[in-house]
């Protein structure tokens, strides 16, 4: 087993572009901040709320694109209904990049709850997921995302807190 390797945010951004993902919408998240920064030069729109971002993404997806929404799992928590009653039943292809606060090295109490249920909620909603733990996952994630590009419906990449380097 190879040693953990910090993920390369510019590399991941490049992979997402190469796969045809975009445009990119983002809501605030410290774990995803390096990826957010890597996506800004090529155009990224910050949106105030996660459900608003998913609604905007749904319209963009209806128009034929494969939009990508970055969010913290706390934000996913308040936007679950947008996934459950819009993206999933209408089979709208949106890629969500969701950070898993409250897991691994993140022991913050306020994130523990969503840390426990994020994966479960996505599973119950029938949203496929792939984990981005650290840089070793780059190839596997890219391969999985390439398959989802052609699928119909939402999907999620789950980014672990230490992927880009966890700061306590």
């Amino acid at each position: 087993m190879t040693a953990p390797r910090k993920a390369d945010p510019e590399g991941l951004a490049s992979d997402l572009h190469a796969l045809g993902a975009g445009p990119f919408l983002s809501t605030p998240c410290g774990v995803l901040a390096p990826l957010h920064a890597a996506l800004v030069p090529d155009g990224l729109t910050t949106v105030a709320r996660e459900d608003t971002a998913l609604g905007l993404a749904a319209g963009i997806a209806c128009a034929g694109r494969w939009p990508c929404v970055l969010m913290q799992n706390s934000g996913f928590g308040q936007s679950v209904n947008a996934v459950a009653s819009l993206l999933k039943p209408y089979e709208v292809s949106v890629l969500m990049v969701i950070s898993l606060r409250g897991t691994g090295p993140d022991h913050t109490l306020e994130n523990k709850g969503m840390g426990s249920v994020t994966r479960l909620i996505l599973h119950e909603l029938g949203v496929p997921t792939v984990d981005y733990v650290d840089g070793r996952d780059r190839e596997n994630v890219t391969r999985q995302l390439a398959q989802w590009r052609c699928d119909t419906g939402p999907s999620a990449m789950l980014v672990h807190p230490a992927a880009f380097g966890w700061a306590t």
Binding site: A58, C62, G64, L86
Partner: protein, 202 residues
């Protein structure tokens, strides 16, 4: 003017424009009045009609109509700040808000939040036109005037009476609503020679 009359006027006026109808009675009525592929009917995700419409409008660079409800919009006013965030890139969006002061679809509870407050936020968010109408003739005049002389980025509060007869729920499967709408958008864009290529940002 009741809700059905307002919807009929709006639908008749924009037969070739993408239209997003908010969840509840508005979608049901629109579906019953005329089901066409340029319509997207929401059945959940209350409050997201405007973001969906904005997404279509910015992706295609085309005018989109959103028919919202005062209750739905009050639930998610961040869609208005989204308009502000889009700034100079803001879309051509005619955002109707059918205002009856009630959550009609759930039994008529009073809407929290006033039309005046929401209109004030819309004005600050950068819609080029923020106006209201309470008769069919007034609405028709307003639409004609602004389309000719001002802009297609409009926030229009339409005062209506609550619904009397409400049609049943959508019979069309939801994936078909989305697929038909997407197919129509694609065909429409080809007709207008708009290229669906990846863009930088939104």
């Amino acid at each position: 003017m009741n809700k059905l009359e307002a919807l009929r006027l709006i639908i008749d006026r924009y037969p070739d424009t993408p239209m997003v109808f908010t969840t509840g009675f508005i979608s049901r009525m629109a579906y019953a009045l005329r089901d066409t592929d340029n319509h997207f009917y929401m059945v959940g995700s209350m409050g997201l009609a405007a973001p969906i419409g904005m997404g279509v409008a910015v992706a295609l660079g085309q005018h989109v109509v959103v028919v919202d409800g005062d209750g739905a919009l009050s639930m998610a006013p961040s869609s208005l700040t989204l308009m502000a965030d889009l700034g100079e890139g803001r879309p051509q969006l005619t955002h109707f808000v059918l205002h009856d002061g009630r959550y009609d679809s759930t039994g008529g509870q009073t809407v929290a939040g006033s039309a005046e407050v929401i209109a004030g936020v819309a004005r600050a968010a950068g819609y080029d036109v923020v106006a209201s109408a309470d008769t069919a003739e007034g609405l028709d005049r307003l639409l004609s005037h602004t389309e000719r002389t001002v802009s297609l980025c409009r926030f229009l509060v339409v005062s209506v009476d609550p619904a009397d007869d409400v049609p049943p729920r959508l019979a069309k499967p939801l994936p078909d609503v989305r697929r038909d709408f997407s197919r129509w958008l694609e065909q429409r864009s080809r007709q207008m020679s708009v290229r669906l290529e990846p863009r930088q940002g939104v």
